[in-house]
């Protein structure tokens, strides 16, 4: 019987063909894949206060009610996807299985807790031109006045459905993309970044 294998990235190959530069090229965009531990799609009716509290207890953070925003507590991020739908991401540092915690914690509630960890990945773009690069394929207004930190949005970039998330006030964006489209998106990014330069972030 084989050993428990390590998870395989869907874009490793495309990313590895991007050179890594040590020097910071002023216009360059930096790309990397971020591996998260959990990607969970959660559906729950929050008109029931009990549900909200229960969720808050499990997640350690309230679920965002405001559309297109993210609530974060340490290693746990909760992204608004719809009025009764959230994406929960936990980083590799997060010790527990959020999937288990949710399943157990919400027993008896009408909820849908779906593991998405293999179905999608996160591409991070960073650097002063990352916003311009995204604008080439994305119709959202990404100006910091409109799409500031703590914002997220489901949208379409270069014919690919993507969840964009602005992490902080630096020009850095997470793109959450379905695995089957991910290496196409990287190809597109490589092309769009031609005039700025693209480096693999270490």
């Amino acid at each position: 019987m084989s050993e428990i294998p390590t998870a395989k990235s869907s874009i490793e190959k495309e990313l590895n063909s991007i050179p890594t530069f040590n020097t910071l090229n002023e216009s360059s965009v930096f790309i990397s894949e971020k591996r998260f531990k959990d990607h969970i799609n959660l559906r729950l009716d929050i008109s029931d206060d009990g549900n909200v509290d229960a969720l808050g207890n499990i997640l350690g953070v309230e679920v965002p009610i405001e559309p297109n925003t993210v609530n974060i507590n340490g290693e746990v991020s909760v992204l608004w996807l719809g009025p009764d739908e959230w994406l929960i991401l936990t980083t590799e540092c997060y010790p527990n299985s959020m999937l288990d915690r949710l399943s157990k914690g919400l027993i008896g509630k009408v909820a849908s807790i779906v593991d998405m960890s293999g179905g999608q990945t996160v591409i991070n773009l960073d650097g002063p031109n990352s916003m311009n690069l995204l604008a080439k394929g994305c119709t959202l207004d990404l100006h910091p006045r409109v799409f500031g930190d703590g914002k997220c949005a489901q949208t379409i970039i270069a014919k690919t459905g993507v969840i964009i998330r602005k992490i902080d006030n630096s020009p850095s964006y997470d793109l959450i993309v379905r695995r089957s489209y991910a290496d196409y998106l990287v190809l597109w990014i490589k092309d769009a970044a031609r005039e700025y330069g693209l480096s693999l972030a270490k």
Binding site: P67, L81, G82, P83, E85, T139, A153, Q154, T155, I156
Partner: protein, 93 residues
Amino acid sequence: MLMIDCPWCGNRDESEFMYGGEGNIVRPQDPESISDDSWSDYLFMRKNTKGLYMEQWLHSYGCRRWFLAERETVSYEILNTHKIGEINPESKS
């Protein structure tokens, strides 16, 4: 190039949405008891209004919610959008 105000997500570009045709068409309560004629009316006949038209859209690349939009079909101006259930569908015979 429409800019559509998703009742949940706000203004988004046309490319994020899927059109669902006339809105507020109510499925007959008991299809088996109605005539072919009435069934055909439900299935195929559309208001297709030149002017203000109530239609349904899906924010397919966004929050995945269906919603209603009232749009002027000559100027394409969208007067308002509504979450499903916010306004009462007109009852149909």
